[in-house]
């Protein structure tokens, strides 16, 4: 029988995979990908909790997260294209203008 623990463990694993990506990646596009992984991991968690507690709020939250992901892509990709037009690269190390 698959319990909530299974799903939450899966969520945790996926989330940490996302974190690895976020930390490891230097390509901005890949960074976005990793962010999507994080969001999806959380989504699974929400859906699972929703199922096992018989409460639909979890699914609603997932919808909102999906909406946020969509907005993030629209704006993020726009910025990325802009940056690429300016600098000709999407390497993260090119973004160092805020050096302390």
């Amino acid at each position: 029988m698959i319990t909530l623990t299974h799903y939450l463990t899966l969520t945790g694993i996926l989330f940490s995979l996302g974190i690895v990506g976020v930390l490891r990646r230097k390509n901005l596009l890949m960074l976005f990908f990793s962010t999507e992984i994080l969001l999806n991991a959380v989504n699974i968690g929400f859906a699972a909790v929703s199922k096992y507690y018989g409460d639909l709020s979890g699914q609603i939250f997932s919808f909102f997260i999906i909406a946020i992901a969509a907005s993030e892509v629209a704006v993020g990709l726009g910025l990325l294209v802009l940056w690429y037009k300016r600098s000709g690269t999407i390497d993260l190390d090119s973004l160092q203008m805020m050096k302390g």
Binding site: I19, V22, L92, G100
Partner: protein, 618 residues
Amino acid sequence: MEKYLYVALFAPVVGSLFSLLFTAKKKNVITALVTSALLLLSFVSSLTLMFAVHDGLTLHVKLMDWISAGNLNIPFGFMVDNVSVIMMVTVTLVSSVVNIYSMGYMMHDKGYNRFFTYISAFVFAMLVLVMSDNFVGLFIGWEGVGLCSYLLIGFWYEKDTASWAGNEAFIMNRVADLGMLMGLFLIYWQFGTFDYETIFAHAGSMNVSVVATIGLLLFIGAMGKSAQFPFHTWLADAMEGPTPVSALIHAATMVTAGVYLVIRASDLFSLIPEVGHIIATLGAFVAVFAASMALVHRDLKKIIAYSTLSQLGYMFVAAGLGAYWIALFHLMTHAFFKSLLFLGAGNIMHAMDDELDIKKMGGLFKVMPYTAILMAVASFALCGVYPFAGFFSKDKILEAAFNGSNFYIWFALFIGAGMTAFYSFRLIMLVFFGDKVYKKLGFHPHETYPFVLWSLLPLGILSTIAGFFEKPFEAFVTRVLSKYEFSLSHSTEVELIFLTSAFVILVIVATIYKYYKGGFSKQIETMPLYILLKNQYYIPKLYEVAIFKPYYVLSRFAWKQIDVRIIDFSVDLIAKVFYKSGQESRKMQSGNLSDMLRWMIVGTVVLLALAIFYRPMM
């Protein structure tokens, strides 16, 4: 009638605030005109109040609750009674005259507008001091006049001596104020209030030793403000300020605040005649002590300053012996003739390009006769020659001393009167008569502006005739103050008056004769007594050696050892820790998104760990 009180009190502060707006601007006559007009308005209001008080009115005004904390409740209250109205009239009159005089005297000064700001502020503070119906209000005014005095002494702050003198006056007053503050605390502790009426009503039922302590402590404050020994050194140095300031503050008004305090608290002091005796003794001592220093001094203004000191001593004698109305009377007449004397000295300084050495003058009568006449009048009044004002007030003090069988005090005052006569006419003779020394030195003296002279006229008249108001004055103020009963027989009184007057006139004549003949020889300046007097009994030296030097060493030690080594070091250490840690942690801010994310995750991990492992104490 209340509105007159408000006008009298707040007209100066309005003038002060008005001219404050111009302090950073160029010289503007309008400030002087406005402040003069407002001071005159204040004077007129005070006069109106005086007539009202004469008709039996006593005003009590509570402006607002000022301090309310726990049991402590201090209203912002004012009182106009027979004593304070006399002070109000005196203060506003003299200050009006001085203000108008200053329009001429300060004509070419850079700080023209600033000067009038200070003067009006001083008048306001003085009025608060005089009119307050409780000790805290008095103390506020007390400190206010102290502040204005400091500002005005150091008016020419570019000069080292002026700023030094300002600081000296301020610090000396602070030292004495400590005594006063302690007195106030004691009052509150014992009486639970600061209100005059309550305190005086209950003073009789208090332990005498407590009242004596309070009286002594208050007197210490009075000593500081009135420059009594040993706090006297600041007054002579205060002459660094502009001359009108010396006339107003350091002769006529502020320095008499100490006397006023004793008079105001007369109900308290009359319970403790022993303390009064101490006051009188000290006053007699200062009267002679200061006069002796005036004998040999060559500085025009300092002579008058020492004269002021000695006259303050007279007032304290009267106040200490319980003759409060006489003290107040002398205070008032003294205010008239001493400010006149100072303002005349100001004219001379003006004419002599700020030269103060009287040995360098001489024969000025020809150039500035009106000033000479006014100063002669003032000198006669000071010496107590009939029919001038001083005769009535000063001789009354001598009588009072004799009356209390305090013959040594009387004798001291008697000698002091002789000295007064000598130094006054030494000054007159050296300045206005004799050889025209100034010509050799290349001065071109001239009489001052007519309106300035006209402004001095009221003071001259009052110096002459004020004495004739003795009886009405006594009747007026003794409604509030206790009466002083003379137990001398009429013949003794007449004999005393005759003796004193004769002595004074003799001295005057002798002085005039001596100086007419060419004065003393140079030899006298090598006499030990002369040198002792010239050096003011070495008291400033003593202060320097006994107080300044050790304090300087102590301060230096505190600076070098405690401040730099310990406090600065610890403060620097804190700063350095932050600086270094900032320098180190700056590397975190590489501006690289990866690094930022890494730190973010570190933070997340820490927070998660906290959420898991931290259990708040239940």
